[in-house]
C-alpha cells in the first residue's frame, strides 16, 4: 500500500488519495465524501499521510492494518498461543481460523474477526505488548537506575497507583500519547508508549517499551527512534515511583532476561560455602584408558579449571552480546623505538568484544588454552558490576 506513488485508503465512509509529490512529501488530494476537504497539506512520511487520511475516513482501517501487520510479524507457531492470551476473540471463533494456510490469509481472517467485535486501538496495543512479551524481539534494552532522596524508607508501592500516576503525569506533559499497561507474571509491569505530536495521532509503529518491577530502582527501556520526549518520560517515572533521580547504567543488551538476571543478581554466582553437592562433584575422576599414559600438564589443567570455576561458577552465565572498553589512557610504548613514542597527545583506543554469548565465551578462554587464568578483572567483573560499557582512565 505504501510502495506506490499514490496512496489510496478505503474505508467505510469513502475514499481519499494522496500523491507522492517527492520522496518526502505527500499531498492530500481529494476526498470523495467531502470534496471541499481537498487541501494540500504536506506530510513527512507515508505513515503520517495515512494517519491523516484515516482521520478523514475512520479509525477502523488504521487499527485493522496495525493488527494485520502485528499478526504477520508473529511466527506461525506462536499465533494461536498469543491470540489465546489476548483473549479478545472468543475460543469458538478462534477455532475457525485455519493456521495452516499462508500467513497473509491467517492475518486477514483474524482482522475480519476483530472487525466484527469492533476492536479499538486499546486492544490492539495489548496484542502488541503480548507479542513483545512472548517472542524474542531484537531490540536493545537499556537499564536505568533511579535513586530515592536520602532518608526515605521503602514504601508499599501499589502498582495501580503507580500506573495511574504515571499516565496522568505523562499525559499532562504531552498531548497525544497512547499509553498501555500489561502486568506480567513476575510482579513487573510492561508499559507501551506510542508517541504523537499535538497535531498528529500517536504513531503506533514507533513505540517505546518499558519494563518496571515494583519496589526496585531499575527500569528497562527499549527506545524507539523518537528520542525527544525522554525527559518527560523520566519525570513521569520518577513522580509515579516516588524517586528523586534517574541515571542511565552502562549496561545494554538484546536479552531482557539476562539484564534482569545481572541487575537483580539472580544468576548463579559462585559463593564459597560448604555446599554438599560441590563436595561430591570433586570426587569424579578422569578416566584413564591405559595406565601407562600420564597427562603431562595435568596439574596446570586442574589449576586452570579451579580458577575458572572460582571466577565464573558452575552454571550458565547471563547472555550479553558485547562489551566495550573506551581507553582514555596514554598508549605506553618503548620510549627508544616505536613510531608513537614521540606523540604528545594520548592515543585513544576503543576495544569492543562481541559474541553471540560473550560471558560463556570468556569462561571458555582459559580452559581452551587461549588466555592465561585468571583472566583480567576487567573482563570478569561484567556481571558483578552490572556494566558492559567501560571507560578506563589514567590512574
Amino acid at each position: 500500500m505504501y510502495g506506490t506513488s499514490q496512496l489510496w485508503v478505503a474505508g467505510r465512509w469513502g475514499r481519499a488519495f494522496a500523491d507522492n509529490v517527492s520522496s518526502n512529501w505527500w499531498s492530500l488530494k481529494a476526498s470523495r465524501t467531502d470534496p471541499g476537504l481537498a487541501r494540500s497539506v504536506n506530510f513527512m512520511s507515508a505513515w503520517e499521510a495515512g494517519a491523516a487520511l484515516a482521520g478523514v475516513i475512520g479509525m477502523d482501517e488504521i487499527v485493522a492494518e496495525f493488527i494485520r501487520r502485528t499478526i504477520l510479524k508473529i511466527p506461525v507457531a506462536e499465533i494461536g498461543k498469543i491470540l489465546r492470551i489476548w483473549n479478545f476473540i472468543p475460543e469458538s471463533q478462534l477455532k475457525t481460523i485455519n493456521l495452516k494456510q499462508c500467513k497473509e490469509n491467517v492475518s486477514q481472517d483474524v482482522v475480519e474477526l476483530c472487525k466484527k467485535k469492533r476492536a479499538s486501538m486499546k486492544e490492539a496495543a495489548i496484542l502488541d505488548i503480548i507479542y513483545h512479551q512472548t517472542c524474542q524481539i531484537k531490540k536493545i534494552w537499556t537499564v536505568y537506575k533511579m535513586t530515592k532522596a536520602p532518608g526515605e524508607e521503602v514504601d508499599l508501592s501499589d502498582m495501580e497507583e503507580f500506573k495511574d500516576s504515571f499516565k496522568k503525569v505523562l499525559q499532562r506533559a504531552l498531548k497525544n500519547v497512547h499509553i498501555s499497561f500489561r502486568d506480567s507474571e513476575d510482579t513487573a509491569v510492561w508499559i507501551r508508549i506510542a508517541w504523537g505530536t499535538p497535531y498528529m495521532k500517536p504513531n503506533q509503529y514507533k513505540t517505546t517499551y518499558m519494563v518496571y518491577h515494583s519496589q526496585t530502582p531499575f527500569v528497562f527501556i527499549s527506545h524507539c527512534r523518537i528520542k525527544k520526549y525522554i525527559p518527560e518520560l523520566w519525570q513521569a517515572l520518577m513522580t509515579a515511583g516516588n524517586y528523586h533521580k534517574i541515571q542511565q547504567m552502562e549496561l545494554r543488551s538484546l536479552y531482557l532476561d539476562s539484564l534482569k538476571a545481572i541487575v537483580f543478581k539472580q544468576y548463579n554466582q559462585d559463593f564459597q560455602t560448604y555446599c554438599l553437592t560441590s563436595l561430591e562433584e570433586e570426587n569424579s575422576e578422569v578416566e584413564i584408558v591405559d595406565p601407562r599414559i600420564i597427562h603431562e600438564n595435568m596439574k596446570e589443567k586442574e589449576r586452570i579449571q579451579r580458577v575458572t570455576r572460582e571466577t565464573f561458577g558452575d552454571y550458565v552465565q547471563p547472555r550479553i552480546e558485547f562489551a566495550q572498553y573506551k581507553l582514555e589512557t596514554k598508549f605506553k610504548t618503548d620510549p627508544k623505538n616505536g613510531i608513537l613514542a614521540e606523540r604528545e597527545e594520548p592515543f585513544r583506543c576503543l576495544v569492543k568484544f562481541s559474541s553471540p554469548h560473550l560471558l560463556e565465551a570468556l569462561k571458555s578462554l582459559a580452559p581452551a588454552g587461549i588466555a592465561d587464568a585468571p583472566l583480567s578483572s576487567l573482563l570478569t567483573c561484567i556481571p558483578h558490576k552490572a556494566m558492559n560499557y567501560f571507560t578506563i582512565r589514567e590512574k
Binding site: T187, Q215, K265, Q269, Y274, L276, L279, E300
Partner: protein, 297 residues
C-alpha cells in the same frame, strides 16, 4: 652445552625427568682434567653398585619389620573392634563432616572463611519448609565492606548495612536474617495461594516484589453465586509473615446481606492471625464439610 636451558616441560612430568637425565649425561660426557682411566671408573662404579645394593637390602628388611610390627596389635584388640585402615577412617570423617554441614544448613545461618574475609549463608525457612538461600560475601578490613551478595535488590540491604555493619555486626546479621526470612515466608504464602487455591480466586493474585501488598478476590461458593470478597493485605513490617492491615470489601453495587458481613468479620480475624494458605485450607475444609452435609439425604 648451556646450562641455563629453559624448562619447556612441566616440573613434575616424565619429559622433565628425561631432560634432566639428558643434561646430566651431557655434563658427564665432557672431558675431565687429570682423570683416571676407564678401568678405574669401572671399579668406582662397581663399589657404588655394591653400596646401593646393601642400602636396598637394609630398607627392605626395615619395611618388612614395619609391616610385621603393624600386625602385632591385632592380638591385643577387643574382639568386637573392627580393623580400621586409613581409607575407612577417611570415609567416616567425611560422613561426619557432611552431617555437620547439614546441621549448619538447618540452623539458617552459616559461614565459611574465604581468602579475604567470610561468606555468610542465610538459609530461610517458613513453618518447617526450607526455602531459598542467600549469600553475603564480606571482606575483612577497616571498614568492613560487602564484596558481593545474592540478596534481592528490594531488600533494604544498604540501609541495614549502613546502620549496623560497622557498629554491631551481630545485629547486622540478625536483622538481615529477619528481613530475608520475612520475605521468604510471605512469598511462600503467596505462591501457595496462587498455585494451591486458585479455584477460590475470581481474579489472579496481585502482589508487589516484596510481597508486602497482596490483593485478591475470592468466593466461598465455587459456582460463583455468593458475593465475592475483595481482600487487601498489607504487611507494614518487613520482618513479619502476618499482615498488619487487612481490609475486606465488596466491589460490586448493591447491598450485601448480613450473612456476608458476618463472614467478612470472621475472615478478617482469620487473616490477621493465620498464614494465608492455612486460612484457605480451613475454607476448603468448610466447603468439603458443607458438601458432605448437603449430599446426605
Amino acid at each position: 652445552m648451556a646450562s641455563s636451558q629453559k624448562h619447556v616441560f612441566s616440573l613434575t612430568g616424565v619429559l622433565y625427568q628425561l631432560e634432566r637425565l639428558e643434561a646430566h649425561d651431557q655434563r658427564s660426557a665432557r672431558p675431565q682434567d687429570g682423570h683416571q682411566g676407564p678401568q678405574d671408573s669401572e671399579t668406582d662404579l662397581e663399589a657404588k653398585i655394591l653400596k646401593l645394593r646393601k642400602l636396598r637390602d637394609e630398607l627392605r628388611t626395615k619395611v618388612k619389620l614395619h609391616e610385621a610390627g603393624a600386625r602385632i596389635p591385632i592380638a591385643n584388640l577387643e574382639p568386637y573392634e573392627p580393623l580400621k585402615n586409613s581409607e575407612e577412617n577417611l570415609k567416616m570423617k567425611l560422613e561426619k563432616a557432611k552431617a555437620f554441614f547439614q546441621a549448619f544448613h538447618l540452623t539458617g545461618l552459616s559461614g565459611k572463611l574465604t581468602t579475604k574475609g567470610v561468606c555468610i549463608c542465610f538459609n530461610t525457612a517458613f513453618e518447617g519448609n526450607i526455602l531459598d538461600s542467600y549469600y553475603v560475601d564480606l571482606i575483612i578490613k577497616k571498614p568492613l565492606q560487602i564484596h558481593r551478595h545474592s540478596v534481592p535488590v528490594f531488600i533494604p540491604l544498604e540501609q541495614i548495612a549502613a546502620k549496623y555493619l560497622e557498629t554491631n555486626f551481630q545485629h547486622f546479621v540478625y536483622s538481615l536474617s529477619e528481613h530475608l526470612n520475612g520475605y521468604s515466608g510471605r512469598k511462600y504464602q503467596a505462591d501457595q495461594l496462587q498455585c494451591g487455591f486458585s479455584a477460590f480466586l475470581a481474579r489472579p493474585l496481585q502482589r508487589n516484589s516484596l510481597c508486602t501488598l497482596l490483593s485478591f478476590t475470592y468466593t466461598m461458593d465455587p459456582s460463583g453465586e455468593s458475593f465475592p470478597f475483595c481482600a487487601r493485605l498489607v504487611y507494614q513490617d518487613l520482618t513479619t509473615t502476618l499482615p498488619t492491615d487487612v481490609t475486606i470489601t465488596y466491589q460490586g453495587t448493591g447491598a450485601t446481606p448480613a450473612s456476608w458481613e458476618n463472614q467478612r468479620a470472621v475472615h478478617e480475624t482469620l487473616f490477621y492471625k493465620n498464614a494465608l494458605h492455612k486460612v484457605f485450607e480451613s475454607f476448603l475444609r468448610v466447603r468439603e464439610n458443607f458438601d458432605c452435609v448437603s449430599s446426605v439425604p
